[in-house]
Structures are given as C-alpha cells and as structure tokens.
C-alpha cells in the first residue's frame, strides 16, 4: 500500500513540477474497527477503510489546496489542476513554504503488530468484559449507555518538491464504557476511556470499575451556594483546561493576535510550579510519531518552564514568520485539510511526589470531577464560565457530591492560581496532566 501511495504522490508532484509550482502531497490510508456491545451482544460492528490525497501547491507564494478520495490517475491530474487554479485567488505570502533538506527522523515505536494479530473474537470479548465489569461492580449500575472496543491503523506519506519524503505506519487501540447509576430516583453518568499504543496495556477491569465508580460517587448530589473556594481538579478535568492552552501557544494564533499569550514570551504566565511540554517522542504517547504533517522531524518542546512562557508551537508558515525553526507541530487531522499548528503529546508535568492528597489541608473547598461546556471557554480573551460537578471538601476529607455549579474566571488567573500539582499524571488522548490544586475559584450555585 505504501508503494501505491508513494507512486500516486510522485504522479502529483511530477505534474506540479511540470507546471512550475512547488507542491506537497499528503497521502493517508486508514482502517478502523469498532465493536459496540449491549448486554454482552455485539450491537454495532463497524469495519472501514479510506484513502485520500491532500495536495498543497505554492505558486509564487500563493497557496492552493485540494483534496480527493479518488486516487485514479485522472482524479490526481484534476486535483493538481484545481489546486493551481485555486492558488490564483489567494494572496501571495512569502511565509508560505515547504520544508526542505534531508531530515533524519527519530526511530520510535508507533506500530504494535499485536493489534492486527489479535482475533476479532478476543476484541469482542474485551468489549464484553468492560461492560460486564462495569455492570457487576455495583448494584446501582442499571444502564450501560455504551461499551466497546476500537482500533485504528494508518499509513501516512508526505512528500514535496523540495525533496522531503517521509512515510510511516501507526496504530492504536482503545476500550470505553459509559454507564448510569440509579438510586431513589436519582440518575448519574460515569464513564471511562482507555486508549493505548499497545494492545497488552488495555485493562478492561480498571476501565469498567472506574466508570462505575465515577457514576456512583455522583449520586444524590446537592447544589451549593455561590462562593469563592479553593479547588482540586482531577486529571481529566485538568486536561480539559490544558487543551485551552494548546490554542494559546499556537504560534499562528499568537501572530494573529488570537491568543492571550501574544507578546508574553519569557514572561510569567502561570504559577512557578507549572511546567508544560509538547513531546512527539514520548514513549507510548498517542501523539507520538517520527514526523509531523509537513514531514518535519518530531521533537520535545518546552512551552512553560517554572511558570515562564519559553516558546510557542510552530508549523512551517508560523516558523518562517517568526524567523525560527519549525517545532514539528504542523499537524493534520486527515487528508481533507491543510496542516496547521497542533499539539502531539501535550503534557502538564507532575509536581513533587508526595503521599498526601492535594486537599489534605483544605477546610472547605470543591473537588472538581466534571466540567461541562468547556468548548465555550474563550482562549483569546481567556474568559471561561463552565458547568461543574464534583465532591465537597470539608476538613481535608471528601464529603458529599455537588452538581449544577458554574465555575468562572480568566485563564490567566487560573494558571497563576495553581498552588500544587499531584504525581498522578494521566493521559486522555494526546493530553496529559496530574491533579492540581487552585488557590480559589469563583463558584456560582444557588
């Protein structure tokens, strides 16, 4: 398959060269398998394959982009013609550029042959197991919303007229379960998702139990009064906030004035305990791959060191504009879109290890386990106001569950108010974080 993708890319680049434009071909072939079970039976079984080409041309500084899922010679020819024709409509930009030169790519383990080798029956069994464990771990787990297994593998090829050629094959697998706990007319959700690069690391018992536990602990939640309180957030909630940082450190956004971190390089943007990296070489990371979506080699980038903003993430365009080397963060979601700045494994690093809980000495506070409407937070102004649920902290102990609260503030204050971080680093997709403790948050309740 890689040969077919390479040949198709060659054809596109040859045609582009003949027309006198620079070009980059990105080819992707992907396969996915998903199994969803209900009551131990396979409710939905999905198997799929797709392939496509995304072609970027740079015609005297003008950008053109066209994609197609049809890789026939005729379609590829049409794509090249359309991309060149489109490039006439965009404005020339000296920073539209393609990487060049002979790159050396890091050797990383990104393909686990055990995933395709495992039998379909074993995968179905794993989906059943996660459902069974969740259901049987407590009598109050009455509904399994969804439970399943998924895996995905892909081959990607990037080549351009400046001599870059990169190809690689990657895969990953995952299990999930979403449950509802019911008791005395109250119903609460809980879920757990585990995504791993290695098949052997999937743990259906852990996943099933965690989902059930998350739902049970939320039962009979009360509302609380509006107040400013110290808060501790679970890793999952922290990764949601860390995701907002991803846009704020995107050099493209910064250059366009669409980030509150614009002009803040070498300044304190967070509490001194905060360290943040983007590391595309992190062993076992979902975002780990030898090269980015433009064929630039992957590396580890420090973003925030001891609270000081030390760098942004760059693709080729934003790097050229800033006069720096690209950081290997030109990411693409599929063959359907242009590369743009994105994260790989984006990690808020752990604090000092300690046996104490972060809330041990909090007299009254909120332990936040869930946030809602996070997509409404504004990484440009930094304003956020999101729904929250969790457990009350009283005299260093977790007491009763709370729901229907809203937490609000500005992200600048949020990151500066981080007092301490736990040692419990967890990944949710390509975002990793430990628990954190915040000095104070504005909570709106009754």
């Amino acid at each position: 398959m890689e040969d077919f993708l390479r040949n198709t890319g060659e054809k596109a680049l040859d045609l582009a060269r003949k027309k006198g434009v620079e070009a980059e071909a990105f080819l992707l072939q992907g396969r996915e398998l998903s199994i969803e079970v209900i009551d131990g039976q396979v409710e939905t079984f999905k198997e799929a394959e797709e392939a496509g080409l995304g072609l970027r041309v740079i015609n005297q500084g003008r950008l053109g982009f066209v994609f197609t899922s049809d890789l026939s010679d005729e379609a590829v020819k049409q794509v090249v013609e359309d991309a060149i024709s489109i490039s006439h409509y965009t404005e020339a930009d000296p920073h539209n550029c393609l990487p060049s030169g002979k790159y050396e790519y890091p050797v990383l383990e990104v393909y686990d042959p055990a995933i395709p080798a495992a039998s379909l029956e074993a995968k179905i069994e794993m989906a059943r197991e996660v459902e069974k464990v969740a259901r049987s771990s407590d009598h109050r787990i009455n509904i399994i919303e969804r439970a399943g297994y998924e895996d995905s593998e892909f081959i990607s090829v990037i080549m351009n007229t400046r001599g870059v050629y990169a190809s690689g094959r990657g895969n990953f697998c995952g299990i999930y379960v979403f449950v509802v706990a019911e008791e005395d007319g109250d119903a609460q959700n809980g879920f757990s998702v585990m995504i791993k690069k290695n098949y052997k690391d999937l743990d259906s018992i852990f996943t099933g139990k965690e989902a059930a536990g998350n739902a049970i602990r939320a039962l009979h939640a009360r509302s609380i009064s509006s107040a400013h309180l110290p808060c501790v957030m679970e890793p999952y909630v922290v990764t949601r906030f860390v995701s907002l940082l991803a846009q704020m450190v995107d050099a493209g956004m910064v250059q366009k004035g669409k980030s509150m971190f614009a002009g803040k390089l070498e300044q304190a943007v967070a509490a001194p305990v905060v360290n943040l990296v983007d590391d595309a070489t992190w062993a076992g990371g979902i975002g780990t791959f030898p090269f980015d979506g433009e064929g630039v080699p992957s590396r580890r980038n420090t973003i925030i060191k001891d609270g000081i903003l030390t760098g942004y993430l760059y693709d080729c365009h934003s790097a050229s504009k800033a006069g720096v080397e690209p950081s290997g963060n030109g990411q693409r979601g599929s063959f359907r879109s242009l590369p743009s700045v994105g994260t790989s494994n984006f990690i808020l690093q752990t604090g000092r290890p300690g046996s104490q809980e972060l809330y041990d000495d909090i007299k009254k506070g909120l332990y936040i386990t869930e946030v809602m409407g996070m997509h409404t937070a504004n990484p440009i102004s930094g304003d956020f106001s999101v729904g929250a649920a969790g457990i009350m902290i009283e005299n260093g102990k977790l007491t009763y569950p709370v729901r229907g609260a809203t937490i609000a503030g500005n992200l600048g204050d949020f990151f500066s108010d981080i007092e301490s971080l736990g040692s419990d680093l967890r990944f949710f997709g390509g975002r990793g974080a430990p628990s954190i403790r915040l000095k104070s948050l504005s909570i709106a309740g009754d």
Binding site: Q41, V42, E43, T44, F45, K46, E47, A48, E49, E50, L63, G64, F65, V66, F67, T68, S69, D70, Q78, D82, S85, I86, Y89, T90, D93, N142, I143, E145, V180, D186, N189, S225, S226, H228, K256, K258, M260, R336, L338, M372, G373, H375, T376, I380, S381, G382, D383, S385, V386, G387, G404, A405, T406, I407, A408, N410, S442, I443, A444, D446
Partner: protein
Amino acid sequence: MKVRLNLVVGGSILDKAILERVLEEALKKGGDFAEIYIEEKQLSNVFCEDNRIEKVNSGREKGAGIRVVKDGKTAYVYTTDLSEEGLLKAAGVARHASANGKETSPIALSPKQPAFTISCKRLPDTVSFDEKIENVLAANKSARDVSEEIRQVTVAAGDLHKKVIIANSDGELAEDERTRIRVIVSTVAARDGIIQTGYESAGGVCGWELLEEIAFEDMAEKAARLAVNMLSARPAPAGRMPVVMSCEAGGTMVHEACGHGLEADLVQKGLSVYKDKIGEKVAAEGVSVIDDATLDGKYGTFRFDDEGNYGQRTVLIKDGVLQQYMYNRLTAIKDSRDSTGNGRRDSYQDKPIPRMSNTFIASGRDDPETIIKSTPSGLLVKKMGGGQVNTTNGDFVFDVQEAYMIEDGEVTYPVRGATLTGNGPMVLNGIDMVGTDLGFSIGVCGKDGQGVPVSDAQPTIRIKELTVGGTAPTGGPAKRRIRRV
C-alpha cells in the same frame, strides 16, 4: 471549475440493478434489513484572515456505507471503492456478523419521489471564486471599519454540494441532491489589555442566492460591534435570577434543554429525563416545541433523511405536554411505530442515528417589548453561543455572547463572561412569558462523534430563574441568602 458529480447519480456506474445485487448480497446469510447509502460531495471554502485571502480550498469525496441489521444489531461497513466489486465485497463483510440466516427473496427497488422541492437558484459551481472573494473581502473591510480597536477579523464562506442515493431491502430507493452554504465572521477587539470577541454566522440549505437575503457586510459589522461593545461590559454577576432570552439570541437553549433528551435512542437507553413522560406536562402552558425538517431553506432542512424517510414536521411538546420523541428507523421499530424521519448521519462513514433538524419553541402571545418591561430585574440574553447537555439528569450549560442587565424593566449595561446553567424540565416549566416573534440560529450539532447541520429557534421568552455563572462578586446571591435566614 466544473463539478463532476454525475458519476454516481443518474450515471451508468451505479444503476438500480447493481444496488439490488448489492442488497441481495448483504442479506445472503439472512438479516432483517439491508441498506446502502452512497454519497458524493464537492465542497469549497474561502478563508480571509489578517486582512487577506489566506486560503481557498476545495475537495471531492465519495463513498458508500452498507449496513445489515439483524435482531436490532447492526453491522456497518464503509468503503471508498464504488465499483460493483468493491460494493459487493463490502456487502460481504457487513453480512458476516449476521450468519446462519435464511435466504431472502429478490429485491426490486422502486424510486421514492421527494415530497417538496428545495429551491437552489445559484449552485456552488456556477458561482466564481472571484464573486465569493469579493463578498468576503467586503465583509472583512466592513468589520474593520467599525473601530480601530478591532484587531483581527476572520471571514469564511463555504459551500457544499452533495448527491446521495439510499436504497434498502424494503425496496425503497431515494435519491437526493443537497446544497448548503455557510458564512462566518469572527472578530477580536482589544483595549487596555482586555480582549473580547464577536461572532456571526448565517447559512442555509440553498444556493448562493443566500447573499441576496443576508448582507454579509452587515453581519460583519454586527460581529465587530459586539466585540467592541463587550470591551466596555462589566463582569456578569453570579447567582440565580430571571432571564429574558431575546428571539435573536437563537435556539441553543431549546436544543440543549429538551431537544437532545427527546431523541429516541437516548430515551430508549434510559438516558433521558423525558423517558416515560409522553402525555405528561414537561413544560409550562403555552410552550410548544417543534422539530421541522421541511422549513424552506433552513440549515437543518432535508427532503429525505439519511435513511430515505421523508423529512417531516413533528410536534414534540404541545402546550406544555410531551407528544412524542424523534425517531430513526431502528428506534422506531423498537417502539413499534413509524420513523419521524430524523435518521441522520455525518457521512457515508457513519450509521444513521436520531438527530434534530430545525428545532424551535413556537411563538406565543406576549409582546417582546412588554416581556422586558415587566421584568423588575434580571439578565437579558441577546446572543447565545454553544452549549452542552447531560440528557440523563437534564442539566445543561450554554455560553452567552451578548447580555445586558435588566433593572426596573429597562435594559441597562452590558455584561460579559456569563454562562447559563439549568435543568431542562425545570427551565421549560419556568418559562412564564412567550413572545410573538421567532429568531433562528444555525450550527453543527455533535453527537456520538457525528456532526450534522441544524438550526434552532425561539421567540423572546422569560424564564423565572436560571443560574448565571459570572465572576462579579455581586450582592445579589448574598442578599438572597440573608432573606432565606
């Protein structure tokens, strides 16, 4: 550029006989139902930022999804190989899951005629990039002309043309063409270290004649004014208070507060607060909620849903009483009834699930001005942003982009940073005034990883009490606590 879309529909590559053979192949080992969904689409986007046309994209994609259902269980296979061999192979994989059934009888497809026409005067491929760009640049200028405090303007205009064929083992064959346009303006304004944003969008199931209805430049000006006005806004208060939602605020509230909870798959799995509530009062008197896929030109309009059922008008809540849920084929069979034509999918890569189309609270009897005048104090929401709901307990949250305080029936100062949280049934029961007006907003609704275009609408309404999640340390909530003591 010429659109080359007749490869699939009306062409010789996929005639009826091939579809029949594929369906027969899919049911060879038994199964209750087989379906093939074929889609071919062409899209293009023009994107302006930093005062220049930064990107122009286009793309083509085609593919087919085949599903076989047996005893309510689904096997779904999709492929981009639309040759007869490719489709037969995919059908073979799909039928794998439902082994040991009996042979089925031959399938004879008969075409279904659409129930209404959708007017599309200017198809995307007949409008030049030059014209789209001219409009985009004019919008960019109009936004920047509002104020020097405008720091960034992003304008995007996109179109999509899609042809679909849906054929199933019940002998139904539906063919449809869909054209959608969407234009977006977002603005960033800054003053003394404060940054605020503005956003406007418009779109419909129509062609580029949309530009005659909506003035792109006015939209841009509005988005710019919003960002600049919000620079002077005070932080929103925190606490519970009456909320008036202006009709122009759009329908995010109805979408989150009750729309999702009325989708039959969630109801049947026990994941909705509206489960077992048919015939019961779930909203205040005078509140009716309707899902209508047949509204002319709206962003969530369709003639056939993605299972080949007719798009239709479904009254969900009538005068406060729950009438029915939104169904696709599978959930309808489970409840022994007909689908309401709400089976939609993101693309050929997804199985259809119950989704909303154009969902709205019907207009009522109150004069919108009077609603504000009769409110002693509270929050006036002029524009809503995105939202999210937990259908199991009905808790929802949505973002407010433009809001003002109401004091003694008068609109006073703007506030920023408010988010509204509430509980679906509680909020619907708390609506005590319903305006005579109706305002729509458009969006892409996400569920189970699938995005579909929808529109939502509501008249100006008043809700007795909602939780406003701002940051201002107001005396409001504190006073309430004192009163309670």
